[in-house]
Amino acid sequence: MTVERNSGPLLRLENVVQKFGGLVAVNNVSFEIRKGEVKGLIGPNGAGKSTTFDLVTGVRPPTSGEIHFNGIRVTRQPAHTRSPMGMARTFQIVRLFRGLSVLENVQMGMHPAFPDGLLPSILRSAERRRQEAESRKRAMKLLDFVGLADRAGERIETLTLGQLRLVDIARALASGPDLLMLDEPAAGLNDAETRNLAEMLALLKKRGMSMLLVEHDIDFIMSACDTVVVMDHGTKIADGTPAEVSRNREVIAAYIGRRAADVTV
């Protein structure tokens, strides 16, 4: 269960709407993520969860409604301004930098914290050398956390999908985010890799990381999350603990069908 804490929520969506032409992909959705909370976002295909995720990460601004992060209105802030604000994301289709080493990929995530002006880079002041060493050290620590420290020097292409997802997470963590947003992190992973991922997320949660998780894998999300938002046809149909949500008639109906819901309850 979530620990109730001071101040306002870390992330707040208020009546968010996204229309594509006549199609309402996200219909008046509101929810909050508190500090330290792990929130899942699930729903059948076409439920609007990916679109909602895009709105939160800033891929596009919503048609209407507001999104607040850390008390700041970010509704129309473009995606690239969100990493310095403390929002980091991973990608469903892993998008790491080919041709770069595993370590370099993680270092890329630190960009806001380690400015890269060219002249200082070449002149290599003592301060700059210290920063570069610090950046490598931090990246190594993160790789160690995800269990890939021994692959640091290898090119990213040599890794398996499961390992790539871990590097993606390490890269997201490298910016030192307040909120980690994971886009279907378990998609395409085998059982062992999924278990490994779940353990890592549990460890992150123990360290107080707030997360937003979009996932297809219901078992995965039910065990990883404090609370779950369920969407269907663009609308939020439930929001609560995994236990509450899994007893919800509408949720069962959305997943299994109306008649099954009547039978099960």
Binding site: F97, S121, I122
Partner: protein, 294 residues
């Protein structure tokens, strides 16, 4: 026999250094933007022609003239960036469209140079001595050798920037995936602007140094672009070092063809060679698959 060969190789190395610098420039810009800058050779022309202006007309000492040549190249590169690259990229133009845009830029630069300097070839005074230097049985001169030194110097500097600095890491990452790089807070426009400026400066300096050996005229740019482009394609456009090596290879081939056959067939022969290489290795001799997609 050996002496002829050595001379030819030295001549090839000199020309190859210029082609290599252009190929290096093209590839650096390409790696960050997936655009081939058809105006690259114009910077060599600008370097050579403005060297005449600064060294002869204004009679500036050469270090000052060198700085002035770099300033001219950088200013024109900024014009290319702000006048063509950025407006097109912001309108979401395809790399191919932007490439045609750089061709337009080349024509504008050439046309302006024509208005300023007219069609006559100019003599560019050598910065360094043309007095013969003996290297064993080879005779060269400081100007010629400086081009080779320049080429390897820029090669080393480019490697250092790309592979030993955080900035270079950003350049490489932008080339692989500008959208994700943007999410990491790297503005690809800034990176591409750097590659334009850096490449223009390299080419301008090369122009100032090759001028005394080749002669300078306002229409020399396009030929140099084509040679540099061929070099980059032969070596592999995706990697600056492969592209630069392609420049050396073309310079050598040209010299050997001219020495042992006739220079008349040098260019067709090189084209045939490039064709054959590309059939077997579509990404260039040393190229990687990375040229394949943005």
């Amino acid at each position: 026999m050996l002496m002829t060969l050595s001379y030819l190789l030295l001549a090839g190395l000199t020309n190859g250094s210029v082609y290599g610098l252009i190929a290096l420039s093209l590839s650096v810009i390409y790696s960050a933007s997936r655009v081939i800058n058809f105006a690259q050779g114009e910077f060599v022309m600008l370097g050579a022609m403005s060297a005449v202006l600064f060294l002869v007309t204004l009679a500036l000492p050469w270090p000052v003239a060198l700085v002035a040549v770099i300033v001219v190249s950088v200013v024109v590169a900024l014009g290319l960036d702000h006048g063509i690259y950025r407006p097109l990229v912001r309108r979401k133009a395809e790399p191919l469209t932007i490439m045609i845009g750089t061709l337009a830029g080349a024509i504008v630069i050439y046309g302006s140079a024509f208005l300023i300097w007219g069609p006559e070839p100019r003599f560019v005074p050598p910065v360094l001595s043309l007095a013969p230097i003996r290297l064993g049985f080879l005779i060269s001169n400081a100007q010629q050798l400086s081009l080779i030194v320049l080429f390897f110097g820029f090669l080393a500097l480019t490697w250092f920037i790309l592979y030993r600095t955080r900035f270079g890491l950003s350049v490489r990452a932008t080339g692989v995936d500008p959208k994700v790089a943007l999410l990491m807070g790297i503005r690809s426009e800034r990176i591409v602007q750097f590659t334009f400026i850096y490449s223009a400066a390299m080419s301008g300096i090369a122009g100032m140094m090759i001028g005394p050996l080749l002669g300078a005229h306002v229409s020399m740019g396009i030929l140099i672009t084509v040679k540099g482009f061929m070099a980059a394609i032969l070596g592999g456009l995706g990697s600056p070092f492969a592209a630069a090596a392609g420049g050396l290879a073309i310079g050598m081939l040209e010299a050997l063809m001219a020495g042992y056959g006739t220079s008349l067939y040098a260019e067709p022969a090189i084209f045939v060679l490039i064709l054959m290489v590309l059939i077997v290795r579509p990404y260039g001799l040393l190229g990687d698959y990375e040229a394949e997609r943005r």
